[in-house]
Point group: C2
Chain length 136, copies 2
DNA sequence: TTGGCACTCATACTAAAGTACCAAAATCAT
DNA sequence: ATGATTTTGGTACTTTAGTATGAGTGCCAA
């Protein structure tokens, strides 16, 4: 937020300078009005593009980075989260058990807890919900 | 493409008119140079934003639209695809049956065919594969 | 040191999911 | 019209998934 204020302040100052310079240059007869207008047009065109790009980027980034807090918020433990990731990869309970070096019973326990915490009835629904809240 | 050329032509013409008008208005003394510059700046700023938005939109669309060919390539029928979408939403066979107004047996048949065509062992794996090849 | 929590595992079920095989309609292109 | 494909549905069976319950172990903070 501080950065944004700083950038905008600098931008406004730069624009004021540009205005004065262009006015002076025109009055002194060194430049034609067409040239001044063209420079102004180009500068503002570029500013428009940059501002728009930043705005859109800020909208896109949150989708990738909201995860960690939500996981804690739902009370999902490390092990449960590992199981969740395996589920989303399409693994069966047995396959997950083998990869995490635990028994299938343990995996089932984790899955049941996950379904409760994610408020899902099936593992497929758990995948969907987990993706929606951005934790996978 | 024709549309793009037309839009750009219209844009250039409009800009030339704007230039001439602003020049005339200034010379005739009706407007101050500050006002003319401000108008030019605002107009080009807006143009910059719009152009940039269109460019980014064109880059974003391909990600969503590579699907149709792949679906045909895998021999997935319309009905099967509908079932696939329901599966990815976390629906059970019974729930899918109710939404598509068919029996659970029918859904099971479709699911079995989907698993074969997507080369998946489970519905969760089918979701994963379908997402990877971009058909959902 | 002790209660709480995460992790582990088992048994015994119930409920879904998935397979195999068959078959009747509906749809569609030639 | 007709052969091919799609869609539909059933039965019977096997395999996963998911629930319920109980319990042992290890770790960490009060």
């Amino acid at each position: 937020m501080k950065k944004t204020i700083f950038v905008f302040s600098a931008l406004i100052i730069a624009l004021l300078i540009l205005f004065q310079l262009s006015k002076y240059a025109y009055i002194s007869g060194d430049l034609s009005i067409e040239f001044v207008i063209a420079v102004i047009a180009i500068v503002f065109f570029i500013i428009g593009v940059i501002i728009n790009k930043k705005t859109l980027r800020k909208k896109a980034i949150p989708d990738i980075s909201i995860n960690t807090e939500k996981i804690a918020e739902l009370g999902i433990s490390k092990r449960e989260y590992e199981v969740l990731l395996q589920i989303s990869k399409g693994q069966s309970n047995k396959e997950i058990a083998d990869e995490l070096f635990v028994s299938e019973s343990t995996v089932k326990t984790h899955v049941s807890n996950l379904l409760l915490k994610l408020d899902a009835k099936r593992r497929t629904q758990a995948i969907q919900k987990a993706k929606n809240i951005g934790i996978i």
